[in-house]
């Protein structure tokens, strides 16, 4: 009896894979990362070289840890938060270098120098389909002053969407990491009760901004509602209207990207506001990868629901063995499930049969594209930061 009262030391679970097997599975990503950054090494610039080396090691190590531990969410979050916090650094530095300011003037809009952002896509589709006109002050093809042209960014989005569906929001979006970072900071959840009807807000906003943008022929969300204007670029404040817009951007950023994620440990902007996220959810229907629940193993402990950062799970959906349409395949539910009931799944195959194979197939595509897009953003930002260091 006495021995039963003594707490037994907690044994660490055995690694998911051996080191050698994990290394073997990581080697394609390591090669891919080297390939992606070869052009950086070919051009001069010590800071860029250093940045590229760090990013190659960073992305490869994280993938190795995914293979070794069998966990996805924690390591993906390391990359995603780094992307979210470093993206504004590189972006703002390049704006100040090119324009001398974060604010966007009329002259820059006329010159087609505005980098195209994926947030515009759902607003630009209707006018583009009806009149072949893009309602954005960028350039269709890359130019010397604007390499992030409309066609290039559209191509990247399309590739990600075909390969990942809504996982764009957890592997590619350079904004989501900011709130994921704030959501990761506190140990405990301070606001637990969130009305599930809030999940409908992004859909309502999507319809509203798509219709209004088509009617007014301007990207309404970017002009009035985008919280991330606070940390990227915004129209120069020259009037009461532009001052109001700026006040809205800053308020939404503080509320939805900083304070609420900190209090709820959820990605509140992504889950309850972002119209692009709602639009991207539609592509989960055609994407091959998804998360499913093995009902034979599920004990309805709700750990998965608590861990989901965008409330993409409901009691009904779990009973049906599925996630909701807005699942961004971050892997939080799979990693939190103690019964291995939440599994990665390839549509068309039997559920819970070889889920690791489905995870691997998904991760190779997701991590490859993340290394290409997010990796280059990280490299650029790191090179900027290294430039500030007093190094010889």
């Amino acid at each position: 009896m006495a021995s039963a009262a003594i707490p037994r030391p907690r044994r660490r679970p055995p690694p998911f894979r051996t080191v050698s097997r994990s290394l073997l599975l990581t080697s394609p990503i390591a090669l891919w990362a080297l390939l992606m950054f070869t052009p950086v090494f070919r051009s001069p610039g010590r800071n860029a070289h250093l940045g590229a080396v760090v990013v190659i090691l960073f992305m490869t190590t994280l993938f190795f840890l995914m293979m070794r531990t069998g966990k996805t969410y924690r390591w993906r979050r390391c990359f995603f938060v780094a992307l979210g916090f470093l993206f504004p650094v590189g972006f703002i530095a390049s704006l100040i270098h090119l324009r001398g300011s974060m604010s966007l003037s009329l002259e820059h809009m006329l010159g087609g120098d505005t980098p195209f952002c994926h947030m515009v896509i759902p607003m630009a589709l209707i006018p583009a389909a009806l009149t072949r006109t893009v309602i954005f002050p960028g350039s269709i093809l890359p130019t010397a002053t604007n390499p992030h042209s409309i066609a290039i960014m559209l191509g990247l989005w399309l590739a990600f969407t075909l390969v990942l569906g809504k996982a764009w929001c957890s592997y590619a979006c350079f904004f989501g990491g900011i709130e994921e970072g704030f959501a990761a900071m506190p140990k405990h959840i301070r606001i637990r009760k969130i009305d599930p009807r809030l999940r409908l807000v992004p859909w309502a906003l999507l319809i509203a901004v798509a219709v209004l943008s088509a009617a007014l022929f301007e990207p309404v969300y970017c002009r009035w509602l985008c919280p991330f204007k606070t940390v990227t670029e915004f129209q120069r404040v020259t009037s009461v209207q532009t001052a109001m817009q700026m006040a809205i951007f800053v308020s939404l950023f503080i509320g939805l990207v900083v304070v609420l994620p900190f209090l709820t440990k959820k990605r509140t902007q992504c889950g309850f506001f972002c119209p692009f996220g709602a639009f991207q959810s539609l592509f989960n229907r055609i994407n091959l990868f998804e998360i499913r629940f093995d009902r034979d193993k599920c004990v309805d402990c709700t750990l998965c629901r608590t861990s989901c950062p965008t409330m993409a799970l409901s009691a009904e959906s779990i009973r049906e063995g599925r996630t909701l349409l807005n699942c961004m395949k971050c892997g939080a539910c799979v990693d939190s499930c103690k019964k291995n009931a939440a599994v990665w799944h390839l549509k068309g195959t039997p559920v819970a049969v070889k889920p690791e194979r489905a995870r691997l197939l998904f991760l190779y595509g997701a991590w490859g594209l993340a290394t290409m897009l997010g990796g280059s953003i990280l490299e650029n930002s790191l090179a900027t930061l290294i430039g500030f260091l007093p190094l010889r």
Partner: protein, 167 residues
């Protein structure tokens, strides 16, 4: 049997998505960008200024006169005509020019502006309408707008003359 075929199809689909991911930076991105460009999709004329109607050659520089831009129904911009003076680096310090906007051989506006040595400095100037179809204005004046401006963009000085007609 059906399940087996579905499984085969699913793995083939996954393989294709991996191929798409791998070929994106090397083949697909460039091909896609070129394909988009060939569809005739263009940036809204409110930003781009519309298509060039004709070019007038002056001593050391040229003036591109664009077609009038009539914004869409609910767009919050007045109709305008864009004229572009280029290259800005070859322009005299003070430019004073009469420009025919509608191509009838008569000057429609008198444009005058000072080109500052700092390319980022704001331009001060004036447009005087010689034809009732157009509106006069002066910069820096009220709130800058897409339909009424004198601004430098790269090596070009853009002048947008508002049309004197209701939107």
């Amino acid at each position: 049997m059906r399940t087996r075929w579905l499984t085969v199809l699913a793995y083939m689909g996954a393989a294709i998505s991996l191929i798409v991911a791998a070929s994106t930076p090397f083949v697909l991105l460039g091909a896609f960008a070129n394909a988009v460009a060939t569809t005739g999709v263009h940036v809204d004329a409110v930003y781009s200024g519309g298509a060039i109607a004709r070019t007038v050659i002056r001593d050391g520089y040229q003036i591109d006169v664009n077609h009038p831009v009539h914004p869409h129904a609910l767009q919050d911009v007045d109709p305008f005509v864009q004229i572009a003076f280029r290259p800005a680096s070859s322009l005299p310090r003070h430019v004073k020019d009469e420009v025919d906007l509608d191509g009838d051989g008569q000057a429609d506006v008198r444009v005058s502006f000072t080109v500052p040595s700092d390319p980022n400095a704001r331009l001060a100037g004036e447009v005087i309408a010689l034809n009732a179809k157009y509106r006069s204005f002066r910069t820096p004046g009220s709130e800058p707008s897409f339909s009424e401006l004198i601004a430098r963009s790269g090596d070009t000085v853009l002048v947008r003359v508002p049309l004197n007609e209701p939107h």
